[in-house]
């Protein structure tokens, strides 16, 4: 049943300048571990002290970790609801509908992970899952500045950073770090322009790639259709798509929709 299970915030960790990570304990635990790349609809059911009721809403959030039934998500301050979620305390209740969507495939010996912004959380859970299988991933993480990059000190395996201001790692875009690598598969999540670059690189170098996308989601469970990418539903058929699939897409990298379905063109 696709129902928001009341889930208590049991731990708040790994703060950056733009958000932090929380661990949630659902009242009725999910039956098995989610696949990295899957997400949950996270419901803020009551405004935290000092916030208006209008901040209450559901937002899709990637699963950033899993520990025996506890679910981790990492929240970036992007707008009213995420800001209010960041104001919640340990002991507060949220709602969690999930796990939802299709995640990453795990049959890979030399994975390369590339993330930016709120793309880092699902990649962290992916990296940890690989590590638990004895596979050491290489991870490239990008951001405006060092203390806005989520989880960079938590990834198992090798991590390389890229920052716009040069505060850490490569001074420039994270996609510029791709040049030096030759993985079995590229796993990427982050801003769509980054994904577009990643896809082009993967196609050029004939590396299989799996990209985790974001689209506006109203239901998250394949009912309304608003999250569609061409004819696919990002909430149901994605959010992870293969490079083959995306190579043909009319909408990937060019068009997305806001609440209500109004089109917004993606400028590069």
């Amino acid at each position: 049943m696709r129902y928001p299970i009341p889930s208590k915030i049991v731990e708040i960790t790994s703060a950056t300048a733009v958000g932090h990570s929380i661990w949630l304990a659902p009242k009725e635990p999910w039956p098995s571990a989610p696949t990295p790349g899957q997400f949950a609809m996270v419901w803020l059911p009551r405004p935290p002290d000092g916030y208006k009721p209008e901040v209450c809403n559901t937002v899709p959030m990637s699963i950033a970790g899993w520990d025996n039934g506890k679910v981790r998500i990492t929240i970036k301050n992007l707008g009213p609801t995420s800001k209010a979620l960041l104001a919640c305390q340990c002991g507060d209740w949220l709602g969690l509908t999930g796990p939802l969507g299709h995640g990453f495939s795990l049959d890979c010996q030399h994975p390369l992970l590339m993330g930016g912004g709120v793309g880092a959380p699902p990649l962290l859970y992916l990296a940890q899952t690989f590590a638990a299988q004895g596979i050491k991933p290489i991870t490239l993480l990008g951001g405006t500045t060092e203390n806005e990059i989520f989880h960079h000190d938590e990834f198992p395996g090798t991590v390389e950073l890229a920052t716009d201001d040069g505060s850490a790692g490569h001074h420039g875009r994270v996609t510029e770090l791709l040049a030096e690598s030759s993985p079995d598969r590229l796993y990427s999540c982050g801003p769509e322009p980054m994904l577009v670059n990643g896809l082009q690189w993967a196609l050029r170098h004939q590396v299989a790639a799996e990209l985790c996308l974001e689209r506006y989601m109203a239901c998250g469970i394949g009912l309304c259709g608003i999250c569609s990418l061409d004819q696919d539903l990002v909430c149901q058929d994605g959010p992870v798509f293969s490079s083959e699939r995306l190579a043909d897409s009319r909408e990937f990298g060019t068009l997305l929709r806001e609440a209500g379905g109004r089109v917004r063109q993606l400028s590069d």
Binding site: M41, G95, G222, G225, G260
Partner: protein, 309 residues
């Protein structure tokens, strides 16, 4: 082989199974996908004059297996962007815009708009707030006169399907009023007025508080309302076709509605997470008819009525 073809207000449909409004129909891409599942026609999400972002979440919650409450808040990009972007005339199956507004005038503008863009027929969502202040929180389709006024205002521009709410004591009277005002067809049921509450969180389950019930559990209510509409129209000597819906999740459910006298049906909630289920249902209807030896829908349509005369 069973012949599933029907005519709806002059429009030829390959089969009597349509996609219901609001489910897997809010973008041109998903509409294209649904066209490929072999539906007889596709109803779009309700379109309003102005864009509507929709309500905060949760917007949809499954409260028992296959039974949902929802309050989407009629999210849509507004008439103008809808007409720019949506394939009203180019898909392999007819696309029927569903319109929603607060007054007959606004409904008329919407009807004029979609007619000019090539729509051959529109569905009007009468489960919208009642325009007369006196009626407070009630719905247009709870008042036969108000419903008829919207039908009259829209049907000048193109044939309309009047979509009714089940939240009334007597749906037959509303249906007859719409037929008399010129509705080309009646569709029912929209969702049932509902509310659910989370006992741990001690608050309503939907972002909007109130919502509508849909899915498997409402089938017996939909069947009853459809039968009541068919009986009322017969009694008033209208042969207006009735499009049945509510809780259809299998070919057998389609048969149930047709047996109650429905001319055709719409399917919504049961496609959740499985758009291609539409194909299985359409195939199943043909198989059922073949097994039963029926060649035409008319061979069994309305057979239940004899039990209520």
């Amino acid at each position: 082989m069973a012949n599933l073809r029907i005519t709806l207000a002059g429009l030829d449909l390959d089969n009597p199974i349509m996609l219901a409004s609001g489910i897997l129909d809010s973008t041109p891409g998903i509409l294209q996908r649904m066209a490929e599942t072999g539906a007889g026609a596709l109803i779009t999400k309700s379109i309003s004059l102005k864009p509507r972002p929709g309500y905060p979440g949760p917007t949809t919650v499954e409260i028992a297996p296959g039974t949902w409450i929802n309050a989407m808040g009629l999210p849509n990009p507004g008439l103008e962007e809808f007409l720019n972007e949506f394939p009203l005339t180019t898909l392999s199956v007819p696309v029927i815009p569903n319109l929603v507004a607060d007054t007959p005038d606004e409904f008329a503008k919407l009807a004029a708009g979609v007619a000019a863009a090539g729509a051959k027929i529109a569905e009007i969502n009468l489960s919208c707030p009642h325009p007369k202040a006196a009626y407070g929180g009630s719905l247009t389709a709870q008042d036969p006169e108000a419903a008829a006024a919207v039908v009259a205002a829209t049907t000048k521009h193109l044939p309309v399907i009047a979509k009714l709410t089940p939240n009334v004591a007597d749906i037959g009277t509303v249906a007859v009023a719409c037929a008399r005002a010129g509705a080309a067809a009646i569709s029912a049921i929209n969702t049932l007025a509902a509310l659910d509450v989370d006992p741990e969180l001690e608050r309503p389950l939907l972002g909007n508080g109130f919502g509508g019930l849909s899915g498997v559990a409402i089938r017996p209510i939909g069947l009853r309302k459809v039968l009541e509409i068919v009986q009322a129209l017969n009694h008033a000597n209208f042969d207006t076709p009735v499009i049945g819906m509510g809780g259809i999740s299998s070919a057998e459910d389609v048969v149930r509605y047709l047996l109650c006298g429905a001319h055709s049906v719409q399917i919504g909630t049961s496609l959740t997470g499985d758009p291609e289920h539409m194909s299985a249902i359409t195939r199943g209807l043909a198989e059922w008819m073949d097994r039963k030896g029926y060649r035409e829908l008319a061979d069994f349509r309305g057979r239940i009525l004899e039990w209520f005369s």
